[in-house]
């Protein structure tokens, strides 16, 4: 029983982690940057 | 002479800035004819140099400073 519960918890945690990673990818954000600025893309200079 | 030959402690008045890729940026930052510049110090190997211009400090390579014609002043 406990095995199943833990399994479910892990699956939920994995989904949450996956969502976070996907969100980061979609929004072009990176955890390691910390501060927001240097990690957004530049809309004007085309670089 | 040009600013290139400047040594620490010397004060100069800018006479003119010759054509160079940096010309516009140098002038924009206040190095226009008539401006006083003081050479503060040099990095290891004597280059680049640090200047005081219009109450701020600016670092510049000597090759780039060669485009600035100056005249020594007291």
């Amino acid at each position: 029983m406990a095995t199943y519960i833990l399994g479910a918890v892990l699956v939920v945690a994995l989904i949450a982690a996956g969502r976070h990673i996907y969100r980061n990818f979609a929004d072009d954000k990176h955890d390691c940057c910390g501060t927001e600025m240097n990690c957004t893309k530049c809309p004007h200079c085309g670089k | 002479m040009t600013l290139r030959e400047g040594t620490s402690g010397q004060r100069f008045i800018i006479r003119s800035v010759a054509e160079s890729p940096l010309k516009n940026r140098l002038m924009t930052m206040g190095l226009v004819p008539g401006t006083t510049v003081t050479v503060l110090r040099s990095a290891p190997l004597g280059d680049p140099m640090a200047l005081r211009v219009r109450s701020y400090h600016l670092a510049l390579r000597r090759d780039d400073a060669a485009s600035i014609e100056v005249e020594a002043t007291a």
């Binding site: 955890d31 200079c45 | 680049p48 400090h57 600016l58 670092a59």
Partner: protein, 632 residues
């Protein structure tokens, strides 16, 4: 209730981002050097019932649209037409700061002048007659000290109460604009015209400044006294090394490491034991116990151990960033950097690479030439980022317990040296565009704002924690899975797992490097997804199995088990070779993605991945074989 759009503009390093953060509660990066902010950023707040949007713009000396930053600024101001454009000025340096002001006025952009850094101006005995200045230009003027809360309050009140319609360019400004128009109408050649206009602007500024600014008594300049030691001739470089070494001692010896050790003891000891005991008492299936203890705790815990090091290192770097020393580092290293075809200015984005390669690669935008930028992008990943730090710290602690800090320092230096050599090689072959330049404002030394330093440290450290909880967690589960299963289902023998198969394939490349085990091969593969995974993989593969079975006689904690596993898998020399390889090989996928974006080309991304792998392979081989020849 109307809304108000405010834009912050001004020279670099005048405090725009500081004001922006205070106003909106955002966490823009702040540093005491010019060119910190390279892109625009919007934030929101409300004051006296009005919704205010504020935009932080990159600092620029002018708006000639020559650099990407200048283009961002002028495009924004002309196209978005904010209700209020605040020109933030450094009050102790008005002459140069007013150049941008006058240029914006010529464009017909109405401004609110913010004379910032009042505290410093006062210290230098600089007094500005704001009434006169406002009248001379026909603009509202406020005085602020951005670091103080009350200043920000004042500024907000000004935002909501200023009627910009009431202000018209003064007679003086109109006369100036007429003179500039006159010059334009004349038949001067483009270059000469530009020169004349710049001189005209400075003539105007000089007359305004002489009218409105007085300096009482020349104060002794502390910055010059400090620079006489830190940025002068031959003492400068040794002192730079001493400074770096001190940061390392603080991080890996004095403050960070003891905390990391305590955390390691806790995770490896009490935590693992109590979790195992709990799982046992709940009668959880063996495989699930293994997944949680070996996989999650071994993988994520192994990385979390190093969090204190990360925090301490980020604190030190952020502190240095706030002092103004970074610009001096650029100045004193330019002689070296130019000899490899780069510019000292490149040091500033490069130093960000000790945190993470991603912002460092983006920061390369501030470099003047395309060649400098490309070179910087391609060599930055050689540096030891926060994710590689755990690899270095783990191996150093295990194989050089008496000398760990020095070994880690050596690895960091190796990364820097390889970056320099690679820049030289790229400059000689791939990029041959000639001559870079070096023009950099050296800001005054400042005492870093502790709030800024702590917030930034926390922000970056938090990012590391989030990463550990998400991607490293997911990777750990995956690694555990691959390490315990094969086509026949779960296996007792890890050597027969999927991961072993993968790792064995990779390990063939390292037969002459001394670390041709499948575990090391697997770590190399997972490390490309996120460098922390190298440590997770080691934690999972070497901290394994026995622990849950022998939890009763838990004298041996996970940590010591892992040590014994690793100690037999590596010799001292092959451990060094592995550290060298991990330090230099292919950037993680996130960094590769950033390279793709910043260079706009898959080709450069692929190049980066391949050449770094090749260099790492060769250098690591040389180190291993060289070491063996010398009898290690």
């Amino acid at each position: 209730m109307s809304s108000l759009a405010v834009a912050l503009t001004g020279n670099p390093n005048t405090g725009k981002s500081t004001i922006f953060n205070e106003l909106t509660g955002a966490r823009q990066k702040i540093g005491n050097w010019p060119g910190v902010t390279v892109d625009k950023k919007i934030g929101y707040l409300s004051h006296q019932g009005r919704n205010i949007s504020v935009v932080d713009l990159p600092g620029t000396y002018s708006v000639n649209a020559r650099s990407p930053e200048e283009k961002i600024v002028i495009d924004y101001l002309l196209n978005e037409k904010p209700d209020l454009v605040v020109d933030v000025l450094d009050s102790s340096n008005l002459e140069r700061n007013l150049y941008l002001t006058i240029q914006l006025l010529e464009q017909g952009i109405p401004l609110l002048l913010d004379l910032n850094m009042q505290d410093e101006a006062k210290r230098h005995g600089i007094r500005v007659d704001t009434e006169k200045l406002g009248a001379a230009l026909g603009m509202p003027v406020v005085e602020t000290t951005a670091r103080s809360r009350s200043s920000i309050k004042t500024l907000l009140d000004v935002f909501t109460s200023t009627m910009m319609e009431k202000y018209q360019p003064s007679e003086k400004v109109r006369a100036h604009i007429a003179r500039v128009e006159g010059l334009r109408a004349g038949n001067l050649a483009a270059d000469a015209l530009e020169e004349k206009i710049i001189e005209e602007r400075y003539a105007f500024i000089d007359s305004v400044v002489s009218e409105c600014v007085s300096v009482a008594g020349a104060s002794s300049d502390l910055t010059e006294k400090i620079d006489a030691v830190l940025a002068n001739g031959w003492t400068a470089l040794p002192l730079f090394l001493v400074m770096l070494y001190a940061v390392f001692q603080i991080t890996f010896e004095w403050i960070g490491q003891p905390m990391a050790d305590a955390l390691d003891d806790f995770i490896g000891g009490p935590l693992t034991e109590s979790v195992t005991a709990t799982l046992e008492s709940w009668e959880v299936a063996d495989w699930m116990q293994s997944l949680i203890v070996d996989g999650v705790i071994g993988g994520v815990g192994g990385v979390l151990t190093f969090v204190p090091l990360i925090f301490v290192l980020f604190f030190c770097l952020s502190f240095l960033d706030g002092t103004g020393y970074m610009a001096r580092v650029a100045f004193i290293t330019d002689p070296i950097m130019r000899r490899v075809g780069l510019t000292g200015k490149g040091i500033m984005p490069l130093m960000m690479g000790f945190g993470c390669a991603v912002p460092a690669i983006m920061g390369a935008r501030t470099l003047d030439s395309e060649k400098d930028r490309m070179t910087s992008i391609l060599v930055t990943p050689f540096l030891t980022c926060g994710a590689k730090l755990p690899i270095m710290a783990l191996f150093a602690a295990m194989f050089f317990p008496d000398n760990a800090a020095n070994v880690v320092f050596a690895m960091y230096i190796l990364g820097v040296i390889m970056a320099i050599i690679a820049a030289k090689l790229l400059g000689g072959t791939v990029f041959q565009e000639k001559g870079s330049t070096f023009l950099l404002e050296l800001p005054p030394y400042r005492i870093p704002d502790m709030k800024t330093v702590l917030l930034e440290t926390w922000d970056k450290g938090k990012g590391y924690l989030i990463k550990a909880g998400t991607i490293i967690f997911a990777m750990s589960v995956l690694i555990w899975f691959l390490g315990n299963f094969n086509f026949n289902g779960m296996t007792e023998e890890m050597n027969e797992s999927f991961l072993a198969a993968l790792g064995t394939g990779m390990s063939k490349l390292f037969i002459f490097h001394g670390f041709d085990t499948w575990e090391a091969g697997a770590a190399v593969i997972t490390g490309i997804l996120a460098k922390e995974s190298v440590v997770s993989t080691m934690g999972i593969l070497y901290g394994v199995g026995e622990i849950s079975a022998e939890a009763e006689d838990a004298v041996e904690t996970a940590a010591t088990l892992m040590q014994s596993g690793m100690a037999t898998a590596f010799t001292t020399m092959s451990a060094v070779a592995f550290m060298v390889f991990s330090q230099l090989y292919t950037p993680c996928v996130t960094a590769l993605g950033t390279i793709k974006k910043e260079t706009g080309s898959w080709k450069w991304m692929g190049f980066s991945a391949a050449y770094m792998f090749a260099i790492a392979w060769v250098v690591s081989l040389l180190v291993y074989q060289g070491g063996r020849l010398m009898g290690f």
